[in-house]
């Protein structure tokens, strides 16, 4: 034991007292240890392990080999993929098509073929491949779904593409590229709300860096756009929330500022907001082009030297409304193809006619002529705009309008005159000079073709404000100017002012102007005529005055209607007056007046009234009025009515008989005389027609209908004298009837 302990080799060390065997506590490790102590167990376990490992290795290798061997056209597949990666799309397309044809189960080849087709600009074929994978082969892969979405987007279906990609993202929600795709697709479809939701997801997945910073600004832009849509739909709270998000994302872009300003409008109103914005060009809205330009002008005067350079961009993306620097091939924001939309498209719109536009700026004759033509021949807006511009041009357009009116007739002339009137009395001097100019161009000085007549019509439409403009005409010796003057005073419908005319012009000249005055002007003038005025007592009663229609039409609205009724009565039953009166019966507002005047005209109107009554085309209402007129005419009317019965009974007989009955006792002697007298028919037929005429029967019936004692006496007298059996029978019947009625009354 001379050796020290530390000089001994480890195996020579004295054995430490062995630790007592762990108590059999029944644990798994104890059981394993015991099992390992048994002979052969470790060896068997090792053998199993080695063999198992070898088997697993072999099995895996075999699987790889099996997979490799199961692929057909393998070299084509791998080279096709490589071609697709390095951009040889035609070669890749040929190879992969062949691979898919030979090995339809090669889904990766089909997926790659879809990508190649999409890059070749054949999204429909690409979509077909992806649909085939999804449906025919049941491939539920996020990648295939995303490619499907990609082909949908290329085919111009951004909304469907976004939906498809979003569904794919449920399987792989951490794919930033896919969220980016959804964001762009949503932007392309204009669904800013969904885009900003996708954008938030994408922002969470992006790592810090330049890309993230840029995207944050873009997201703020999108949120502002979504907020604007919410604001338009009335969701102010939602818009405010999105504005807060956008501002938190550091967005100080135009849409964010615009949304803030629009929300401010909700709080403070438009005028206050506008003032606030323009007062401070460096404020938050300086990014909004229109506001910036307006504010800059307000503070700095007029700095612009050129038309361009106002807006940061003249184009916007038609899909996502982002400003674009030029007519770019693809939107850098939403990737929409050919997206550029001109912000102010009207600036480059064609002018319909540069010549005419310049004429409009110069306001030369050609332009005025065109306006007049548009006014007279145009329709709708064209005529309305031309009228508005002519009214604005006023004096400049007078000559052209007057010439047009002079050369036209009817409604076209009326249209021109209406516009001239609408220009107001200040154009009077220009009207007169235009009239003189046109008058001097006349070859034959025919009165009816005189432009002065037209000027007169125009002047008639003016009020007293035109008086200062027409007064110089009193000093003019020109016949044309005199006419215009009379017409003006007629148009004033002021009889006191008209006294000036009466004092300075001969009545015949005035009467001529009355006859040529506009219907409306004359009517208003007549309505103002007072009782006992010279016009009513003399001028209007002249036979040369032939405006009976306007006379009648003026009565209902006249200040003193009896004046005009008296004038009509005094003018007597002329053919024109009766025609107007009978026509007036069918006009609601004139019917009462016409009936009254007809009644007062007396027997002179009888023939016309009776003829009108007998007119089968006469309306029921008019016929009733005529009946009342005839009844009022009494015996004279009864004589005429008795002569109106025909040889055979007609429906009209009953109505004529009703007139006789209406006349009553006054008609009895007339009826008796008419019964004894030969009618016109008997005279012209020279006894060929028997005395048993309808006329006598109607007289008998009328007498019986009148039914007075005098009428019965006349019937008896007629019976006593009558020799014709039939008429006797009629008379007896009538008398029996009369007796029966008398008995009944007794």
């Amino acid at each position: 034991m001379g050796a020290r302990v530390h000089d001994l080799a480890p195996w020579q060390l004295p054995q430490a007292p062995t630790a007592p065997a762990p108590a059999a506590d029944g644990s798994f490790w104890q059981w394993l240890f015991d099992l390992g102590q048994k002979p052969g167990v470790v060896e068997v376990a090792l053998a199993v392990l080695v063999l198992g490992t070898a088997f697993m290795f072999w099995w895996r290798m075999a699987a790889l080999v099996r997979d490799a061997r199961s692929r057909q056209a393998l070299a084509d597949y791998l080279l096709g993929v490589e071609q697709a990666l390095h951009g040889d799309l035609d070669g890749a397309h040929d190879r992969l098509t062949q691979v898919v044809a030979n090995d339809p189960e090669n889904h990766f080849a089909r997926l790659m073929l879809g990508k190649v087709l999409a890059e070749r600009g054949e999204p429909e074929q690409a979509h077909q491949q992806h649909v085939c994978l999804k449906t025919a082969f049941g491939i539920d892969s996020a990648e295939n779904d995303l490619m499907l979405a990609h082909s949908l987007l290329l085919a111009g279906l951004p909304r469907e593409a976004g939906d498809t990609a979003q569904r794919a993202l449920q399987k792989a929600p951490e794919r930033a590229a896919a969220w980016d795709f959804v964001y762009r697709a949503r932007l392309q479809s204009g669904d800013f709300e969904a885009a900003q939701v996708a954008g938030k997801k994408l922002l969470d997945l992006l790592r810090d860096g330049k890309a993230r910073r840029e995207f944050t600004v873009d997201l703020a832009h999108t949120q502002a756009q979504a907020g604007d849509l919410r604001l338009r739909s009335g969701d102010v709270a939602g818009a405010t929330a999105l504005l807060g998000d956008a501002q938190r994302h550091g967005g100080n872009t135009a849409p964010v500022q615009l949304l803030a300003a629009r929300l401010e409008v909700r709080r403070s109103g438009v005028p206050a907001t506008v003032q606030a914005l323009l007062a401070n060009p460096d404020a938050a809205t300086s990014q909004v082009p229109a506001v910036a330009v307006a504010a800059k002008h307000r503070t700095e005067g007029l700095p612009l030297a050129a038309l361009g350079g106002l807006a940061p961009s003249r184009f916007t993306c038609r899909a996502c409304k982002a400003p674009l620097p030029d007519r770019v091939a693809a939107c850098p924001r939403c990737h929409a193809s050919a997206p550029a939309e001109l912000g102010e498209p009207r600036i480059v719109a064609d002018l319909a006619s540069p010549l005419q536009t310049m004429d409009a700026i110069d306001v030369n004759d050609a332009h005025v002529q065109r306006l007049v033509l548009r006014l007279l021949d145009g329709t709708g807006d064209e005529a309305r705009l031309a009228r508005a511009e002519l009214l604005e041009l006023r004096e400049i357009a007078v000559l052209a309008l007057l010439r047009a009116a002079w050369n036209q007739s009817g409604s076209t002339q009326d249209k021109a005159i209406e516009v001239l009137r609408a220009m107001g009395p200040s154009i009077a001097p220009d009207l007169f000079s235009a009239s003189d100019e046109l008058g001097s161009q006349r070859i034959l000085p025919l009165g009816s073709r005189s432009p002065a007549a037209l000027v007169g019509r125009v002047i008639q439409g003016f009020d007293r404000a035109a008086l200062p403009h027409v007064e110089p005409l009193f000093a003019s010796a020109k016949a044309e100017h005199r006419k215009i003057l009379i017409d003006f005073f007629l148009g004033l419908h002021d009889l006191q002012q008209f006294q000036l005319v009466l004092e300075r012009f001969p009545p015949m000249e005035i009467l001529h102007r009355l006859n040529k005055a506009d219907a409306e002007v004359l009517r208003r003038f007549l309505q103002a005529v007072p009782r006992g005025h010279f016009v009513a007592e003399s001028l209007l009663r002249e036979e040369t005055f032939h405006r009976d229609e306007e006379l009648l039409a003026a009565i209902p609205g006249a200040a003193d209607r009896e004046v005009l009724v008296a004038v009509m009565r005094a003018r007597g039953p002329s053919r024109s007056a009766l025609t107007v009166l009978l026509a007036g019966l069918s006009t609601a507002e004139l019917a009462d007046t016409a009936e009254q005047v007809l009644s007062e005209l007396g027997p002179g109107a009888l023939d016309h009234v009776l003829a009108a009554f007998a007119d089968p085309e006469q309306g029921a209402s008019e016929r009733r009025r005529l009946q009342r007129v005839l009844v009022r005419l009494g015996g004279a009317a009864a004589t005429a009515v008795c002569d109106s019965f025909g040889p055979e009974p007609t429906a009209l007989d009953d109505e004529l008989r009703a007139i006789l009955v209406g006349i009553g006792a006054a008609a009895v002697p007339v009826l008796q005389a008419a019964y004894g007298r030969s009618g016109w028919l008997e005279k012209v037929s020279l006894g060929l027609i028997s005395r048993h005429t309808n006329r006598r029967v109607q007289i008998i019936l009328a007498l019986r209908a009148i039914g007075t004692g005098n009428a019965n006496d006349v019937l008896r007298a007629l019976l006593a004298d009558e020799s014709d059996a039939n008429l006797c029978l009629r008379l007896q019947q009538s008398l029996h009837g009369a007796n029966d009625e008398g008995g009944a009354r007794g």
């Binding site: 393998l74 604007d228 300003a261 438009v270 050129a306």
Partner: protein, 425 residues
């Protein structure tokens, strides 16, 4: 003589060959049988064999007594057995390894197509490590894997790593498809890496383009190099080739760049007063930008340089574009009264020209005409920012500041209301 000898030998061996079993193991047994018989006849020699076996058994006997020894023996048996089996199945194992690598490569390509980048990278790396016999069906599997790893590294911004993978690719014997990728990636990697000398990079690109003259990616690389040189004409020329060979999906984008290149070249030619060049460029622009204004804008610039202002305005007006109007506005600002307003409208019959006419008239002091022109412009164009600005300027020139302010306020109010409105008043 040789033939005769062969026939004789075949004739003698034929019965023997006919009797020999087909199975190689049985054949070994048949061959071994005479040897065993010989050893049996000579017992001393057999004894030696027996002694040797006994020696071996004695050597391993202690090992069999302990668990560790048995385990060791077991491992040795399995190792030698496995090695023997591999030796026996050498060609089969070789084929199997090659096929397995191919299978792994296919899996990697699948992961690549399926955008599973991590798995794809791991699998390609395993394939790239393979040093065995190449699979007969696709012998370029390792090169392919290297290329794909290089592409992945480049996409991830690891340029040096990409160059490493590319350097491992053996170029001779590579098929065109892979060679094209190699050249593309190499150019890309070198350019990104940035340490290669420009001349070397240029010659690399040119060599690649000599081999694949229509390769869009290589042309794009060359274009980027040319852009760096700052020669707009060369840029326009190369961009034209890039556009011609661009895939359909990128045609529009490349066309846009071509138009930009031609426009830049045109501007340079204008500055250098190379008029024939400008005309040629304008013709090319007319082809490149059929519906756009670029060609007309360039020609207008040329005419302006020649002093033919009227024709320049007419040419710009014919482009029917806002840029054309901008140029006209600039020209009129530089040469006030160069053109009568009537002539201006005839040369450029656009609604936007009304703004220019209004401003020209206002500058000339023709108040009434300017007002009418401004009003016509406002009615035709509506309250856009441009109209607002120009009309405000016109109204200011006419001394109508209040109206100008009102116009600006109305424009902003309409903007805030969200509708452009019918027309400025």
């Amino acid at each position: 003589m040789g033939k005769v000898g062969d026939w004789v030998r075949r004739g003698l061996l034929f019965p023997l060959k006919a009797l020999l079993p087909k199975n190689p193991w049985l054949r070994v047994l048949v061959y071994a049988l005479p040897v065993v018989l010989l050893l049996a006849l000579f017992s001393p020699a057999l004894d030696v064999v027996v002694r040797l076996l006994e020696l071996v058994l004695r050597l391993i006997e202690p090992l069999l007594q302990t668990t560790l020894g048995r385990v060791l023996l077991l491992l040795l048996v399995f190792t030698f057995g496995g090695m023997f089996a591999v030796w026996l199945l050498k060609s089969r194992v070789r084929d199997m390894r090659a096929e397995a690598v191919l299978g792994r490569h296919l899996q990697a390509v699948g992961a690549l197509v399926g955008q599973d980048r991590r798995r794809c990278r791991d699998l390609f790396r395993k394939v790239a490590r393979y040093r065995g016999a190449p699979p007969t069906r696709y012998p370029h599997v390792v090169a392919d894997a290297n290329l794909k790893l290089a592409r992945e590294s480049l996409d991830a911004g690891r340029t040096d790593e990409a160059l490493g993978w590319l350097s491992r690719v053996i170029e001779p014997g590579l098929p065109n498809e892979l060679l094209r990728s190699l050249l593309q990636l190499r150019v890309r990697a070198w350019r990104r890496q940035g340490e290669i000398l420009p001349g070397a990079l240029r010659s690399e690109v040119e060599r690649a383009l000599d081999r694949f003259p229509n390769d869009h990616a290589l042309l794009g690389e060359q274009r980027d190099l040319v852009v760096g040189d700052g020669d707009p004409h060369a840029f326009a020329a190369i961009q034209e080739r890039v556009f011609q060979h661009a895939p359909p999906a990128q045609k529009a984008h490349e066309r846009q760049r071509w138009i930009e290149a031609l426009t830049q070249a045109g501007a340079a030619a204008i500055a250098a007063e190379e008029r024939d060049v400008v005309k040629k460029l304008a013709k090319k622009l007319a082809v490149a930008d059929k519906d756009g204004p670029s060609s007309g804008l360039l020609l207008g610039e040329l005419q302006r340089q020649l002093g033919d202002l009227r024709t320049a305005i007419r040419t710009w007006g014919a482009t029917r574009s806002p840029q054309g109007l901008d140029r006209i506005a600039e020209l009129l600002a530089a040469h006030p009264g160069a053109l009568d307003p009537r002539e201006l409208l005839e040369c450029c019959p656009l609604q936007g020209t009304l703004l220019l006419v209004a401003r020209e008239l206002a500058r000339q002091g023709e108040t009434a005409r300017a007002e009418r022109a401004a009003r016509l412009a406002a009615e035709a164009l509506g309250p856009t920012p441009t109209v607002c600005a120009v009309l405000a300027e016109v109204l200011g020139l006419l001394g109508q500041e209040a109206k100008a302010r009102l116009l600006r306020e109305q424009t902003v109010a309409r903007l805030l209301a969200g509708s452009p409105g019918p027309a400025a008043e």
